[in-house]
């Protein structure tokens, strides 16, 4: 087993365990911390995939900007406890409803893994031949030529999101 395989298993284990930590406990603050850990391990996986630009973007934008936004809101609202379900269908289902939810997720995961593994089989032969494309210049070139329209549309999206966030969160008079 070479170094990249060991790195893959370590980063994959950290990612999965941290994601389970996000889902598995009730304090949103701990969830955010687990998710930052998960994003760090995912950045490691991107490095293993010869995508250093994506790895750096993952750290800066996800772990740096988006998670700070989440942390800010968690601290602002300060609701560490999750409330029990109200009487009705959800409470009647109770722990069994939880089990059904977990079962449905596991079924979904098995379906996705099965479908993806069937798709991926054909590419085993040409794996090694694919050349590494890790250059930031290549990404920038493709971004501003073939994907220029999507890039400009993204700027409109961010403008709309910014205005929308300000309008929605504003205190009404």
């Amino acid at each position: 087993m070479d170094a990249s395989a060991i790195g893959f298993y370590i980063f994959a284990a950290i990612t999965v365990l941290a994601s389970l930590g996000v889902v598995g406990q009730r304090n949103p603050m701990h969830s955010v911390m687990f998710l930052i850990t998960s994003f760090g391990a995912l950045a490691g996986l991107y490095v293993l995939l010869d995508a250093p630009f994506t790895a750096v973007t993952q750290i800066i934008i996800y772990a740096g900007a988006i998670m700070v936004l989440f942390l800010f809101v968690v601290m602002l609202l300060n609701v560490p406890r999750e409330e029990p379900a109200p009487p009705g269908l959800v409470a009647a289902l109770g722990p069994r409803g939880m089990k059904i939810a977990v079962l449905l997720s596991v079924v979904l995961g098995i379906e996705i893994v099965w479908a993806l593994s069937r798709v991926g089989l054909g590419w085993f032969a040409q794996d090694a031949a694919a050349t590494s494309v890790s250059s930031v210049a290549l990404i920038g070139g493709a971004l501003f030529t073939r994907h220029a329209f999507a890039f400009e549309a993204t700027s409109i999206l961010i403008l709309v999101a910014m205005v929308g966030a300000v309008v929605i969160a504003r205190r009404e008079r």
Binding site: A12, V22, L45, A101, L104, I112, L138, I158
Partner: protein, 100 residues
């Protein structure tokens, strides 16, 4: 070199974990975090497939997904703050006014 299928399976597992978070948690912030897990699972698929096909398109789509995730987090958290101000709770069971 790790086979592509390993990355795809890992991504499928992450997506299922994110879905279970939507099902299990009764806290709007944790549900938004679960959406982020699912977006990251899809990102991993894009980067892995792009790497194995030898193109940069996977990384570029990941770039756009991150941008959309940032916009989604900003608007979603603004909604959470507005809802919390309205009802003093983060439980999705409290916001059923539009439910028939």
């Amino acid at each position: 070199m790790i086979p592509l299928n390993y990355y795809l399976i890992l991504s499928g597992i992450l997506f299922a974990i994110g879905t279970s978070g939507i099902f299990l948690r009764r806290n709007l912030i944790t549900m938004l975090l679960s959406v982020e897990i699912m977006l990251n699972a899809v990102n991993l698929t894009f980067v892995a497939v792009g790497r194995y096909l030898g193109t940069v398109d996977g990384q570029i789509i990941t770039f756009f997904v991150m941008t959309v995730a940032a916009a989604e987090a900003a608007v979603g958290l603004a909604l959470v703050i507005a809802l919390f101000r309205h009802r003093e709770t983060l439980s999705p069971d409290a916001f059923t006014a539009l439910k028939w």
